[in-house]
């Protein structure tokens, strides 16, 4: 929990940016097309909230993120468990994963559109590729680096490999796993916005690109702020989850 002083430190930079922006806009250094005033952005925001436009785009982006993120999480759990239970299996796909790890997911968009059109599937694939690796690497690393001394205790308690995975490796790896989830969620958000800018007719990425085409800088700013706010909320949920699940570390 943030203290009063902490809250102040958190809010001060926002206030500074806002004041600078308001000052620059009021002095007319740039035209209102390039830099709309905070008052105009606020008015547009209220209008978009009123007609539900902003919520619709946020909901669609969020749905895409959660759908792709869930698949990536499932794949990471499955693969890191397989790595542990059948160590030789890793050799079959580690090379392929290493190559794909270094490929930015957005670079696959041309091919994905060609193969699957501009429907939901390419976007899901982009999110899966963006969020899979941080989750998989943290999970795999956490499982493998589990303290041998604790595993020996499990051995003496008669744990089966599955029970050992469930009761020892998983909880021991949880701090790393949660960090992976947090990073993965951030990557998903970035990836989906990129994908929506290229191949979508809805979502926050589309909102920004559409607003640019209509010369509505105020809407572009609202789109950007909405992405930031969404990221902050998602990260906050994970921070809360971390505090709850890792209470034994405090």
């Amino acid at each position: 929990m943030r203290t009063m002083k902490g809250k102040l430190h958190f809010c001060l930079p926002f206030l500074a940016v806002f004041l600078l922006w308001d000052y620059a806009a009021s002095q007319g250094f740039w035209s209102s097309y390039i830099l709309p005033s905070p008052a105009r952005v606020w008015g547009t925001l209220l209008h978009m909230l009123e007609n539900g436009e902003l919520f619709r785009h946020i909901r669609i982006s969020l749905q895409r993120i959660l759908w792709g993120f869930s698949w990536a999480l499932l794949a990471s759990c499955l693969l890191s468990s397989l790595n542990l239970l059948f160590p030789r299996l890793r050799n079959c796909y580690s090379g392929l994963l290493e190559v794909f790890r270094h490929v930015p997911p957005l670079s696959l968009i041309p091919l994905l559109i060609l193969w699957f059109g501009i429907g939901e599937l390419p976007k899901t694939i982009i999110i899966v590729l963006a969020s899979f690796f941080p989750m998989y690497l943290n999970m795999d690393d956490g499982f493998r680096r589990c303290d041998r001394k604790l595993l020996e205790v499990g051995q003496m308690l008669g744990f089966s490999p599955w029970k050992s995975l469930w009761k020892i490796r998983l909880p021991a790896a949880l701090p790393g796993i949660l960090t992976g989830l947090r990073i993965g969620m951030g990557y998903s958000l970035r990836a989906i916005i990129g994908a929506e800018m290229i191949a979508a007719d809805s979502g926050l990425g589309f909102l920004i690109l559409d607003a640019q085409a209509m010369s509505r800088s105020d809407k572009v700013i609202i789109g950007i702020l909405a992405i930031g706010a969404l990221g902050l909320v998602l990260d906050g949920i994970f921070a809360l989850l971390e505090r709850k699940v890792l209470c034994w570390m405090r």
Binding site: L150, E152, V153, M156, L157, L174, W248
Partner: protein
């Protein structure tokens, strides 16, 4: 219950021979204490008995149905589980959860039951570890210098608690230590390991021990001479 037998065991780590053609019989009805200087192979012997490592040559025969428990030098509690949950892990399948309360009170940890290991002192952690091992209802408990990191008073208290509980539950113990007084307090049979071979053995009469009695002082003197 049959004895646990080691037959011509050899164990090496690289070029270093840790145990050399060692043969030994350990009864699950008594407390066997293995003494020796650091690096003489005590811990390796215990790990072989526990099945945590395999010998290079020789065989270890564990009687069918003999359940082994092990208490390590460190408490090795699972940090994400409370004291109660850690002890519950030791309970055999089919035990009722209330049995944990019995073990908690036996090691005087009832008030710390819902605390995490990081919130417990070293002595309390070691007591919880002891309770978890005892809760397994093992026929033979292997102990690797379990009280080495504790202060004098906590160690003396735990030694006494261990002796009482082992007698009550009629289970065997194989204790590895380099503390001579601990060996004399707990052991029914004392063995000295030197450079991977057993060089000395002595049996002590059962019952409460007075470390200042002439007979135990004489044993201690012989022990120290052998260990030197």
């Amino acid at each position: 219950m049959d004895a646990l037998k080691l037959d011509h065991i050899t164990k090496t780590y690289g070029p270093r021979v840790v145990l050399r053609d060692l043969s030994l019989t350990l009864s699950p009805q008594e407390c066997t204490v293995i003494l020796g200087k650091s690096g003489c192979g005590k811990t390796t012997l215990l790990r072989l008995l526990a099945g945590l490592e395999q010998p290079d040559t020789g065989t270890i025969s564990r009687p069918a149905g003999l359940k082994l428990g092990m208490m390590f030098q460190e408490a090795r509690l699972f940090p994400w589980l409370t004291c109660r949950e850690n002890i519950a892990l030791g309970l055999p399948q089919g035990s009722i959860p209330q049995e944990v309360d019995h073990w908690l009170s036996l090691v005087q940890l009832t008030e710390a039951a819902d605390q995490y290991p990081a919130q417990l002192s070293g002595g309390m952690q070691q007591r919880a570890s002891l309770a978890r091992t005892l809760a397994m209802h093992s026929g033979l408990i292997l102990m690797d210098e379990p009280f080495a990191a504790l202060d004098y008073f906590t160690r003396a208290q735990l030694q006494q608690e261990l002796r009482t509980m082992v007698e009550q539950m009629s289970m065997g113990v194989v204790l590895v230590t380099h503390n001579v007084d601990e060996a004399l307090t707990l052991g029914d049979r004392l063995l000295i390991l030197r450079k991977g071979t057993m060089v000395w053995e002595e049996r002590l009469p059962p019952g409460k021990r007075d470390l200042l009695s002439p007979s135990l002082i004489a044993v201690k003197k012989r022990l120290l001479e052998e260990l030197a």
